[in-house]
């Protein structure tokens, strides 16, 4: 092996905390800090530190984009299509332009441009108005005259697949919307389009025909998942301020960096003239990763009106045109030997993201289990409905719904316990440990045969697993500043969408300086600071905490050099601990941190560090997005009660066992995993975007008929986070948001089967679906 002079060899803790830690040697860049010890040996990292901005959040002081109010600000509103498919022959804005308070009007659909004259879903933007009040803007919209030439439409995926279905795009035309950007979704560029069907995107290994021929047992089934909407509590919001010297955009976003790039590209501005700012983000879940129609419109209106323009989507717009998790159909086939050894897996899927693409079912069938032969064919189907986009565990959440139930069916056919079968076919040592821990916690040995209970209330227990890549953004940087009065500030454009990265950054930097996290100022969510990663794909913590620690460590080296002469030692003999700079071998010799800072040569010192590659390299990399060698795990167990008279499923208890490399803040991890589980329960039982097939209209574009899980349906959720050290970065931390969501619905599905002895393969598992499965009412499908 060649010797790299820019790195040094270090020994890192390695392995799963509970099973005994080993060590592993890694090559570390010379300008990065020494290995971080296991959490037990740290004072701030890995501890349940209260949320850094908790006080702001409980007092109402936290500022969200909907709270931004600039002097002279106008209010933008968007006129949206009321028909699912039409060509606009005319738009008359004369009356709207005369309406008092109206300052600017823009057309998004253009009758004179064949490429922009067609609207393809109810809710598609047609025109927009900026006025001196939101009410005036709304009233002006009502004065815009539209001349629609209706076109045939299709609002159902099965119909859209048919030979004679109306075409959403006239041939292989351009595709609108925000196509999914998540790395786990197969990219569909260049795929054939036939009718409304695009694809298939294919993947494979080995020889599936031979694999099935070698199988002693073959199970196969079809699974369906519904369209789920993100339902961020803060709807999509933007305040755009176009000025001659540059563009400033306040936006409720998961990616200040990404939106800045989009703005620069869309409006032909150099990057340095575009600034994106966000403080509080009221939820994102995948839907706030890009600029979006509302962002483009607000900037255009601001440029036209020469004034700041705020656009806040109302709940109906939010439900119809801010993204959704695509609905899917999948056919899965799994072959195995009598002992459970897998011989072949095949997957065929069709999904719909409305007018756009990205409706695959991910890589669960391909990658979760050890199987030499695999083939996959995934299709997108266009319908006249609002565009889908990434949503918490995109692809793999519907994918796991299918595969994890079919693996349970296989276990039953083989008369093998579902955990024992997974022990045989799952190569991940992490998930093996998670299964062991979870089974003990939930009391798996007490699980009974399907449909054991004799009364109308039937109890069941089930489990399922998650697969998600450990994503890392390499375009991720962080600055740490130290001032002569001891003030420390962390700066990055990374945003906190509720996951708690603000707190974690304070912990990381506090640990380096031997201070309390409350003493660290965290300034993020502004592209004036070094570029932060997007908060999607469970990549924030993995991407930004290593550069934060590295930058802090470099600043500390300068501080120690400044303090060393005063203590008559070399800087290498000094440590930062308990608010002091002290001599390592004689800690009573030292000075307060502030006294050391006062010795700095200048008022302020600063270091910017960026995310280096994982020390042992990445498994995959595309542009700024990389995937770590080891996937994230995650195993969930559910206990349910099914009322066979009403069809109501009640979730009694969930045990969620997860890993995220080094856990940074157990309390926040618990919050986030509980949130993932609850979103999974909601997906399993309640949520469903319903389109009226006669009108193409969403009939539940609100928060009362679109059912989201509430406090009364919330079970006991026990969260266990492993310490899983890989020795891969300055913090060795990865993400957790998405694995927490992927396994929940299939764990519930398997538990429902265990309760009633009948398998539900379609989501959501409503009371009607349960009763139909039990043969008590006719099936509606």
């Amino acid at each position: 092996m060649a010797i790299d002079v820019t790195t040094r060899t270090e020994s890192f803790p390695f392995g799963i905390g509970r099973t005994g830690l080993g060590e592993i040697e890694r090559q570390v860049p010379l300008n990065e800090p020494p290995p971080l010890p296991p959490n037990a040996d740290l004072s701030v990292i890995g501890k349940s530190i209260p949320r850094h901005n908790g006080r702001e959040k409980v007092t109402g002081a936290m500022s969200y984009t909907i709270d931004v109010n600039l002097p002279g600000m106008l209010f933008g509103k968007i006129l949206r299509s009321s028909v699912p498919h039409a060509r606009l022959r005319g738009i008359d804005t004369a009356a709207a332009a005369r309406y008092p308070g109206v300052v600017a009007i823009m057309l998004i659909a253009r009758p004179d441009d064949p490429a922009a004259a067609v609207v393809r879903y109810i809710g598609a933007p047609i025109a927009a108005v900026a006025a001196t009040s939101a009410a005036a803007a709304d009233e002006a919209l009502a004065l815009i005259g539209l001349d629609y030439q209706p076109l045939p439409f299709v609002a159902d995926m099965d119909t859209a697949r048919g030979q004679t279905a109306p075409l959403v795009y006239g041939g292989a035309a351009q595709v609108g919307g925000n196509a999914a950007e998540e790395s786990e979704i197969p990219l569909l560029a260049g795929l054939p389009v036939k009718g409304n069907v695009r694809g298939p995107a294919t993947d494979g290994r080995g020889n599936v025909t031979q694999g099935f021929a070698q199988a002693d047992v073959v199970v196969e089934a079809e699974f369906r998942t519904q369209v789920q909407t993100h339902c961020c509590m803060e709807s999509h919001a933007v305040v755009a301020d176009w000025r001659s010297d540059g563009l400033t955009v306040h936006m409720s976003t998961q990616s200040t960096t990404g939106v800045r790039h989009e703005l620069a590209q869309t409006f032909g501005l150099p990057l340095h003239r575009v600034r994106v700012i966000v403080d509080g983000v009221g939820g994102g879940f995948g839907s706030k990763s890009s600029l979006g129609n509302h962002g483009r419109i607000a900037v255009s209106l601001s440029r036209q009106a020469q004034a700041p323009v705020r656009i806040v989507l109302d709940r109906q717009e939010e439900q119809m045109d801010s993204g959704n998790r695509p609905g899917t159909w999948q056919h899965l086939r799994v072959g195995s030997r009598h002992d459970g050894t897998l011989t072949a897996i095949s997957l065929e899927s069709y999904g719909t993201a409305g007018i756009t693409v990205g409706a695959g079912v991910g890589n669960v069938a391909q990658g979760l289990y050890d199987c030499p032969n695999f083939t996959g064919a995934q299709h997108d189907v266009f319908i006249n409905a609002g565009p889908g986009c990434a949503m918490r565990g995109p692809g793999n959440t519907p994918g796991a719904w299918g595969l994890e139930q079919l693996i349970d069916e296989l276990a039953e056919r083989l008369s093998i316990d579902p955990l024992a079968l997974r022990d045989r076919i799952d190569l991940s040592p992490t998930r093996r440990e998670e299964r062991r821990i979870g089974a003990a916690r939930i009391g798996w040995p007490s699980r009974r045969a399907p449909g054991t209970d004799r009364g109308p209330l039937k109890r069941g227990m089930g489990m399922a697993q998650s697969l998600w890549g450990a994503n890392v953004q390499t375009n991720a940087a962080c600055e740490v500043r130290l001032m002569r009065d001891g003030w420390i500030e962390v700066r990055s454009s990374v945003q906190d969408i509720g996951t708690g990265i603000t707190t974690v950054l304070a912990q990381v930097v506090a640990e380096v300086f031997g201070l309390r996290p409350e003493a660290i100022a965290v300034r993020i969510g502004d592209t004036e600071f070094p570029a932060g990663p997007p908060s999607n794909g469970s990549r924030t913590t993995a991407s930004i905490t290593p550069p934060a620690r590295t930058a802090a460590w470099r600043v500390l080296q300068t501080l120690l050099l400044a303090a060393a002469p005063a203590l008559n030692v070399s800087a290498a003999q000094l440590i930062a601990r308990d608010g002091r700079i002290a001599v390592r071998d004689n800690p009573s010799r030292g000075m307060k941190f502030e006294e050391a800072a006062a010795l700095l040569r200048t008022d302020q010192i600063s270091e910017i560090a960026s995310r280096s590659d994982d020390y042992a390299g990445f498994r995959q990399r595309k542009g700024d997005a990389a995937v770590a060698l080891e996937d994230l795990g995650g195993v969930q167990f559910a206990e349910v009660t099914v009322d066979t008279e009403t069809g109501i499923i009640r979730i009694e208890r969930v045990v969620a066992v997860h890993d995220c490399g080094r856990p940074m803040n157990p309390l926040q991890i618990e919050s986030q995993v509980q949130g993932g589980v609850l979103m999974g329960i909601s997906y399993a039982l309640f949520e469903n975007r319903i389109l009226d097939q006669n009108t193409g209209r969403m009939v539940n574009p609100n928060l009362e008929q679109y059912k989201v899980v509430g406090p009364r349906e919330t079970p006991t959720i026990e969260v266990i986070a492993l310490e899983n050290y890989q020795g891969q970065s300055a913090t060795d931390a990865y993400g957790i948001a998405e694995p927490a969501n992927i396994g929940t619905a299939p764990a519930i599905g398997n538990a429902v089967y265990n309760a009633i002895g009948v398998r539900l393969r379609n989501l959501p598992m409503t009371p009607a679906a349960v009763l139909a499965a039990l043969g008590k009412i006719p099936s509606r499908s």
Partner: protein, 213 residues
């Protein structure tokens, strides 16, 4: 209006479809709304019977008791309490998420009882006292529910948190020693998309231990 209905463009011989009927009626409804505004204008310009006070549709001056202070503000009669708090009064801690009483994000107290401020017109508040999230802490001293929310991490994105705090604090006011089921009931109208319900319940039960009504 310049807007043409689809039925005017219907090809000859095509029946009156359910779809075109629905679209037509949607436009008719929009027209009626505009007409309604016009009607109010006419009412106002006509001589009102003596003693009958007609307010609007322009701005009217009202007084609100908010967080212990009397505030005078100009509102349109159609303005909800939530809009009045967030707009003229700059109390943006009250959040609007659904704007139709389905999610409770905008919860405030009216004479100590929780209400969805998006479902109440500002002009209808009258002399009742309004308490918002900004009025919960006594200077630097947080309300016990607020302190417990921080300690138990009963928040993620934080957007629904002010409303949750208002409902949980109201619960303790009326039921100082609640059970977990009481807390579930108190927040049953709230939607938290981040899924903080378990920590909200834990925090409120913890706050109750030290709470003095």
């Amino acid at each position: 209006m310049a807007r043409k209905t689809e039925s005017e463009d219907r090809p000859p011989g095509e029946g009156f479809s359910r779809r075109s009927f629905l679209q037509g009626s949607a436009l008719a409804t929009a027209g009626a709304t505009v007409m309604g505004v016009a009607a109010v204008l006419i009412d106002q310009s006509a001589a009102a019977p003596s003693g009958l006070l007609i307010e609007g549709p322009g701005y009217v001056s009202i007084k609100l008791q908010v967080n212990g202070a009397t505030r005078t503000l100009q509102v349109e009669p159609r303005m909800t309490l939530a809009e009045a708090l967030r707009g003229p009064l700059s109390l943006t801690g009250t959040k609007i998420a659904c704007d139709r009483g389905a999610c409770s994000a905008c919860t405030v107290w009216l004479d100590g009882m929780t209400v969805s401020s998006c479902m109440l017109l500002a002009i209808d508040v009258g002399t009742r006292s309004v308490t918002t999230i900004e009025g919960m802490a006594k200077g630097p001293q947080l309300h016990p529910v607020q302190a417990a929310f921080i300690e138990h991490d009963a928040m993620q994105c934080g957007f629904c948190t002010p409303g949750m705090v208002m409902s949980c604090a109201a619960l303790l006011q009326h039921t100082p020693r609640p059970t977990a089921t009481d807390v579930q009931a108190a927040i049953s109208g709230h939607i938290c998309r981040c899924g903080t319900y378990p920590h909200v319940i834990a925090a409120t039960l913890a706050a109750a231990k030290t709470y003095k009504a």
